[in-house]
Each structure stands twice: as C-alpha cells, then as structure tokens.
C-alpha cells in the first residue's frame, strides 16, 4: 500500500473521535447522574485516600467524612443561629459549679453495620482519647475529664477535673469536633493512630461507595436505613442517592465542569463565580442578584498587628492606622464592594446582629477617642453602608432600596475616614511627617510597613493586604505587601509586624457565646516572639488585657444556655475593650463565592430561603440534603 499523509490523518482523527465518544462514562461505576449530587471538595486532593480515621490526624474530613459519614452530638448552624442536636437528644446540662455535664443521647440511631449508637460509644470515645496521646482530642480529654460514665444506655455523665462551662464545645461541630467512635470497631484495634478505618462504619446517612486512590474524588451512597440516623429522624430522607466529592486542581477546570453540569455545588473565587453566572443558564449564587456571594459566614477578615513589636504595641498608633483607612475605597479594592463591613471583632451574621450589633449601636455612636489636651473624637460612622451603596451605583450594580437589606448586604457601619485625626494621634506619640508627606517613626527613621500576607491572590488575606497598603501609602506610610508561602509559620511565631491573619477567631456561629473569639487573647496563652502561639486567629496578635482576662474567666463560669443575658452582657463588655484597644482591625465579613447548578437539583438554601448554612464543605451538608428537590 502506498504511504499517504491523508491516511495517517484520517487514522488519527478516527482514533481521537473513538476515544472521545466511546468512553463516555463520566461517573465511577456507571452511577446515574440524575441520582447524584456532585460537590466540590474544598481542602484539596486527599493525601491519604485510603484512610478515614479522622480521630488520628488531618484526613481531609471535608471529603464527606464529616458531612455524610459521621454525625456529632451537636452542630452549629450559623444561617439560623441554632445548635442542632444530632446524636444528642438535647443541649447539655451542667451542674451549678460546672464540674459535671450530662448528655442525653437520641434513641433509635444506629451505626451503618446495624449496631445501635449508645452511651457505651461515647464513654469509649472519651476513654480512648484520655489513654492515647496522638489522638487529636487527647489534650482536652486528658486535661478535663475525671470520669465518664452512664446512668442508662442513653445518658452519659462527665465528671470534670476543672470547672468548665464550655466543655460541650469539644463535641460541638463547626467544621471539626470530637466525634463519637464506633466502640465495636475501635475496641478491637491495636493501634488507634495507624488504623485506617477503611471501609468506615458511620452513624450518618451515607456510607462509602468508592474512592479514587489518587485522591481526586470520593463517592458516598445513601444508607438503606437512613431513617435510623439523626439526619433521617430530624429532617427525613436525604434526596440524592449518591454524593460525589471531587477536587479540581485548577479553577478553570472547575468552572468548565460546572458549565457542563458536571458539578452541582462549587466554591469558586469571586472571579470564577462571575464567569459561571455569566455563562450558565442554570447556575445561581447564594443571592440570585449582585452581590451573589454568601455573606453570612461566621468569620471576620482584616488586619493583625503584632502587639509585642513597637510601634504597634501602642494603641494610639493602631487607632491612627485604622482612621487612615477610607473603608469604602478599601472595600472597592479588596472585594468589589460585595461584603458586609464590620467594626466589631465579629462578622455581622444572623446569630450576632440581634445580640451584639444592634444593642451596641448607641454605645458606638458615643464612643470617643482621647486626642490629648482635652480634645476628643467620635470615630464611628453608621453611614458607611450608604456610602458603599453610592459607590456601587457608580459601578452600575443593582442596589436595593430597602434599608434593612442594605444593612444585611453591607453591614452596620465602620470607622470614619479621618486622616487628620490619625495625624494628631501620631504626632502626639512622637511621629513626624517630612516635606514629601512621608511619615517617620519617633526615632526619626522612615516608617515602613511590610504587610505579611498569604500568597494566593484569591484569599481574603491577600485582598485585605492590597487594600490596606493602598490606603496607608496614600496616608504617607511606606507600605508594601509581603506575600509568602511561609505566612502561617511566620504569623504563628510572631515574626511579623503587621499581617492579614484573621483579626479574631471565628465565634461559634450559633447561640450568644463568644468565648471562642475571646479565648485566644487570654494572657495565659501569650508566648514570646519565636515561640508559636497555639491559637493563631486573633491570638497571633500577641495581645492581652487584664480586664478581658477577667471577662474570659467569668464566661468560663457562666452557663451559655441557662444564663443567656449574662453571656451577652459579658460579650458586649469584651467587644468594647477590643474596640478601645484595637489589637487587630476587623474590616469585613468573609464571603464565600458559592455557585449552585439547578440542572439536576433545586431548592438550594439561598438568601431568599436560608434554611441551612450553604457550604458543601461544612458538616451540615447532611441536614441540607433532605430539602433538595430533583428537577
């Protein structure tokens, strides 16, 4: 046969078409697409795909382990501000001096292999953690638990060594907690740390079906007896028969997959979200209109000072830097005006607006800074949301007229843009400005700020850094961003001056207890520079205050469920101290760019009907699934 290039070309073309058309199975093992919910996995490719033992270390628990396989005693839902009792029948009961906690378990729940979930599982879990250093929750269990016992098969009593009104929070799931182990599996295990727990036995509504040995995906299948799990008992049948968690290395691949209806629930970058909404007829964001993003995340972003390093150990310097920020411009640079601002060390989410933001408005309006020589200044500006609205109109975004909605979208207010006041505060503290408008430190040297940040441009740390540097440069400070892969290590070790680490630890997201936010600032946790702090968010600011210490200690002796008013009052007092001292600058609430595809599934928990928290990676996904509707 005579050699012809044309023949070769046709052969290659034929092979390509065969490959592309014949191998059409998209899902593992021929799983039907219309029965499957496909969600994006947040924390990356699973490093140990064959290991499900999340009690022993980091196991990418958002691959479905925490969402579908396991149910905790309690879960936080920040969308509703409630605590959901899962394996527990109700909230915990403490005795008067918080040395004893009683937990009533829900009856009628079973492990996926048919064994009932009972008090014995809880007791075993706690005991094995006390005995086994290396298990993640060994520390608190060994430190606090004197004895754990049952009074009947569904009632567990914890005797505590040290009074602790927050002991239950170790079992309260908000993206992690001590989950109950199946005693009948783990009691036969020789080494709890190396045991792979594969295939895993769970008490949640799904069991493992298959997984990718390279860690790109994990497939779960609804249990036949889903009604014998807390999810089934509380909310009914989870609608998808299968749930597939998939990791995409590139944002582009994820976007294209969602446009092809190959992923139902994904978290993108803000730019990626826009691309999906722009090109897809079936995709939607948390809001159907601009600004689309989830703005009820219980996390606050902002700027962190290292309070052990001069001049940031001076609260007037910290306040000067705060007043040198025009928050409207800042928001335009950082997040295209799409997030709610917050001047409290809390995100303005439903759980906290009623309890803290609204009650504190009057105090904030009257709050004054002492500028010296009898001069004072009221820094609060409740008009900021309206100024953001005006800026958004200039960008032709559709803006609602309803003041309540404006508040929901853009927050309650922030600090005034007052460079003149900032200047007074700095001059009062020995700073000087040269003829070029550049600021100098009290020792005469040029004031330079190298703002340490996470290197990913999509991260809120990076976005905050860009905006802050822009504002401070305008004010006359030689500021620059310093993005580095070593961000986490440097921040925890205190090897920075100013950074964009989380300015405060995320609160629980439900109830009125803010202890989780305040605890990292207790003086007992302070460490010298060079030694890591244990609680990075908030705590890496290396700041403490005796009055706040007292409040934290009072909170430890206050029942967050029985003494709600007292808990709120203590929370407000602590927030006031944080404002006066400004150890970190909170700027805006974290926003997640979630896109849902309505090609196969509808009734997502969007802003118009926020029946559940909206993320696929939170443990509450299981409580969302019964509400989905097949299209």
């Amino acid at each position: 046969m005579k050699f012809r290039w044309g023949n070769i070309f046709l052969l290659v073309l034929g092979l390509v078409l065969t490959v592309s058309l014949l191998a059409s199975a998209q899902l593992p093992g021929g799983i039907p697409r219309e029965e499957t919910l496909i969600v994006d996995q947040l924390t990356g490719r699973v490093g140990m795909p064959n290991n499900f033992n999340l009690w022993a270390g980091w196991r990418n628990q958002d691959r479905g382990i925490q969402q579908l396989l396991l149910e905790p005693l309690w879960t936080v839902d920040y969308a509703t501000g409630e605590i959901i009792s899962g394996l527990a029948a109700d909230l915990p009961i403490y005795n008067d001096d918080f040395t004893q906690m009683t937990v009533k378990l829900r009856e009628g729940t079973y492990w996926s292999d048919g064994v009932p979930v009972t008090a014995d599982d809880v007791i075993f879990t706690v005991d094995i953690h006390i005995q086994t250093p290396g298990l993640l929750y060994h520390g608190p269990m060994a430190e606090y638990v004197e004895k754990v016992a049952k009074t009947d098969d569904y009632t567990v009593v914890f005797d505590l060594k040290i009074p602790n009104s927050r002991f239950h929070t170790h079992f309260l799931d908000r993206w992690g907690c001590l989950r109950i182990m199946p005693k009948h599996i783990f009691e036969n295990v020789e080494d709890q740390l190396t045991f792979e727990y594969n295939p895993p036995v769970g008490n949640g509504p799904y069991i493992l079906n298959d997984y990718d040995p390279a860690g790109f995906w994990t497939l779960w299948e609804r249990r036949e007896d889903w009604e014998r799990t807390p999810t089934g008992i509380l909310y009914g049948e989870p609608k998808p028969k299968y749930v597939l968690f998939q990791w995409f290395e590139s944002e582009e691949g994820k976007i294209l997959s969602q446009l092809r209806h190959e992923i139902d629930m994904a978290q993108h970058t803000p730019e990626g979200l826009r691309a999906v909404l722009d090109k897809s007829d079936t995709a939607r964001g948390w809001r159907r209109d601009w600004p689309w993003v989830v703005n009820i995340d219980p996390c606050i972003t902002g700027i962190m000072f290292n309070n052990m390093v001069p001049p940031y150990d001076n609260k007037e310097v910290r306040w000067a830097l705060t007043l040198a920020i025009d928050i409207v411009e800042y928001m335009a640079i950082a997040f295209d005006l799409m997030a709610p601002v917050s001047n409290l060390h809390l995100p303005p989410v439903p759980a906290y607006t009623e309890a803290f933001f609204i009650p504190m408005q009057d105090w904030l309006k009257e709050f004054e800074l002492d500028l010296g020589k009898g001069e004072t200044f009221k820094p609060y500006d409740p008009d900021v949301p309206n100024r953001i609205v005006e800026a958004a109109k200039l960008r032709n975004y559709p803006i609602p007229e309803d003041p309540a909605l404006i508040q929901e979208l853009f927050g309650f207010g922030w600090w005034k843009y007052a460079p003149d006041i900032a200047e007074k505060l700095l001059i009062k503290n020995g700073f000087s400005k040269d003829n070029d408008g550049k600021w100098h430190l009290p020792d005469g040297s040029l004031w330079k700020i190298s703002l340490l940040s996470d290197p990913s441009p999509t991260h809120h740390h990076f976005k905050n850094a860009n905006a802050a540097v822009d504002q401070w440069r305008k004010f006359g400070i030689e500021a620059s961003t310093a993005p580095t892969e070593a961000f986490n290590t440097l921040v925890l070790n205190g090897e920075f001056e100013v950074s964009t680490q989380w300015p405060a630890a995320e609160p629980w997201g439900a109830g009125v207890d803010l202890s989780r936010t305040f605890d990292p600032w207790h003086s007992r946790l302070l460490t010298p520079i060079g030694e890591p702090v244990s609680l990075g968010p908030g705590g890496a600011a290396r700041w403490s205050n005796p009055a706040l210490d007292e409040i934290i200690e009072k909170l430890e002796k206050t029942d967050p469920f029985a003494a709600v008013e007292e808990t709120v009052e203590l929370g407000i007092e602590a927030l006031k101290i944080l404002i006066e001292e400004m150890p970190t600058i909170p700027t805006y609430g974290y926003c997640g760019a979630v896109a849902w595809d309505e090609q196969y599934w509808t009734n997502w928990p969007g802003a118009e009907n926020p029946y559940s928290q909206p993320y696929q990676h939170w443990p509450n996904l299981k409580y969302l699934l019964p509400f989905l509707e097949k299209k």
Partner: protein, 334 residues
C-alpha cells in the same frame, strides 16, 4: 587505560560531587524558607475553623514534632537524611502523615511517567522530523508557512495553551472531559479503562506535544540549516549522492547529536516538567505532589522527589557522557 583515566574517572567523580551538592542543597533550602511543617498543619486545621482548644493544639504540636522526626539538631537531621538517601526510604510525608513518601511516589509517578515520557518522545520525534525536513527545504513556501505557525505556537506558556485547549475541546466542542476525575482509579486492564485513560490524558498530552514539538522543530530546523551548508554535504551533492541519502545519512544524522543530548536531559525533567499541565487538567502526577510539598513545608516529600530527580538527571547525563563516544567518532578519536 588512558580512556579510563582521562574520560571515565573524572566523570564519575563529577557525578558523585553533583549528587552530594544537590542533596545537601535540597536538605537546607526548604529549611531556609521559614516554613515549619508542624505549624503549617496546625494553620490548615485552624483556618477551616476546626474546634481545637489551646491544650489540644499544644499537645498536637508536640506529638507532630516527635512523629515527623523534627527533633534534634540540624546536623542530626542531615545525617538521617543521608541514611534515607542510601536506603531510598524518605520517611513519612508530613502533610499526609503517616503515608510513606515512597508510597506516594509509587502512586503518582507512573501517571507522570506515562504522560511525560509519551508526550516527550512524541514531541521529540514529530518535532525533529518536521524540523529536519523543514530546515532542509527551508526555501520552500510550505516550510515558511509551517515555520510561521510554529513561531506563533511556541511562545505560549503551558498554562495559557492548556486552558485554550481545554476551552476549545472541553467546552466549545465538548469532546473531552474538563477535569481529571476518572484518572487515578485502580488499574483494571480492559478496553473501557484504556479508553478512559486515553480520553482523560489526550488534552494534557496534546498540550505537551504541541508546545514541546514546537521547540524541537525550531531547534532542529536551525541545526539542519547549518549542517546542510557544511562542506561535506556540498561535496556529497557534487559527488552525485542521492538527495534522500544526503538528507537522512548526512544532514539529519549529524544534526541529531545535540538533540539526543537534549532528549536525555528533557526526560530527566519528569519530576517537575509537567506541573503546570497537571494543574490545568487535574492530572494525578508527581509534579503537583512536589508543588504541594514545597508550599506546605513537607521536607520529606520534597526530599524524596528531588533526590530521585537529581539521581535520574545526573545518571542520564553520566550515561550520555559515557556512550557519546559511540555516537560521535570525533570524541572517540580524541
């Protein structure tokens, strides 16, 4: 004997020295980045809002430091590293603890080798063949058009070209998948599995072959254009040697020598060469593994991959040096 003294032994000494310096550098460089693997893990857990209180975190820090073998002086760790190199046991990956680095390499390396070696060989063969012919007939119109097309393709960064390919073949014409979901599955030797692999590997391979092939094409074209002007080629023409023989026997064979060296070096890049393409197409390879290791301060993982990389490249260069006299009589006679 003279060959051994002047040629073989110096190259063996050079080989050992390069490995020693490379591994020493790989030991120290990650430790100079300021990243602490324990703190990176803690931050990862805290960043997701996980509920670990201070005592749990402190206990975890202590445990992880012990488990990772990060206690002891730098010198002690350096000595342990050499022990690991000699046994090719690089210990556990920190970030994927307690999975041994060797297990991770066993999982991911075959995928990278499959994609990278295939696409490198294909791009080398196609690029050199086309470049050689285009270089010999450089005065022809088709050669000039081909050269112009290659000039456009070649400067594309892998990332941009990969996305372009992805948009065209996975979105505009939905012929191929957008991600690497089915890849990485347990190997089952059946027709469907092979088709699946081909289907998911096609676009990353296409990206690598086109961009790699363009480089080989341009190099070969320039080499051939130079060689065909050499006296011995002119002499062959005058002597009436058939053109087909001149092309393959005189011109291409001489122009191929540096390309063979380049091929050996290119194959040595298997550990990091396709990182960007792996990212764009979510391909389960070792490049991504290395990237994650670097960004998370996973010293053992970085050490495992780079040591293999150093050994592969230096060994490839050594073998090439030793066998080069077989290809090139000028060196043999020197």
């Amino acid at each position: 004997m003279k060959f051994f003294r002047d040629y073989f032994i110096p190259r063996i000494i050079q080989y050992v020295l390069v490995i020693f310096c490379g591994i020493t550098a790989v030991f120290f460089i990650p430790r100079l980045t300021g990243q602490d693997p324990v703190l990176e893990i803690i931050s990862q857990i805290q960043a997701q809002g996980a509920s670990l209180d201070a005592s749990a975190v402190n206990s975890l820090m202590k445990t992880l430091k012990e488990l990772y073998g990060l206690e002891g002086s730098l010198l002690e760790q350096y000595i342990i590293t050499w022990k690991r190199v000699f046994t090719l046991d690089f210990g556990p990956s920190f970030f994927q603890f307690p999975t041994p680095v060797s297990d991770l390499l066993r999982t991911y390396l075959p995928w990278t080798i499959g994609l990278f070696v295939t696409s490198t060989l294909l791009s080398w063969i196609i690029g050199n063949m086309m470049g050689g012919i285009a270089g010999y007939f450089s005065h022809k119109k088709w050669s000039k058009i081909l050269d112009a097309v290659i000039m456009v393709v070649r400067p594309f960064p892998h990332y941009i070209f990969g996305i372009l390919v992805l948009i065209l073949f996975a979105y505009v014409w939905q012929l191929f998948p957008a991600g690497g979901m089915m890849l990485g599955r347990k190997t089952i030797l059946n027709w469907n599995f092979i088709l699946t692999i081909l289907r998911y590997s096609f676009l990353p391979a296409l990206t690598l072959v086109l961009l790699g092939g363009a480089v080989w094409f341009q190099q070969m074209k320039l080499l051939v254009q130079n060689v065909k002007r050499e006296d011995f080629v002119q002499y062959a023409h005058i002597g009436g040697v058939k053109e087909k023989y001149i092309i393959f026997g005189y011109v291409l064979q001489n122009a191929m020598l540096p390309q063979i060296t380049q091929l050996a070096l290119a194959l040595g890049q298997v550990f990091s060469g396709v990182l960007i393409v792996e990212m764009v197409f979510s391909y389960p390879g070792v490049g991504l593994l290395l990237y994650r290791g670097v960004t998370r301060g996973d010293y053992n993982l970085v050490m495992g991959i780079t040591v293999l990389s150093i050994l592969t490249i230096t060994t490839a260069v050594l073998i090439l040096d030793l066998v080069y006299p077989l290809f090139d009589p000028r060196i043999r006679h020197k």
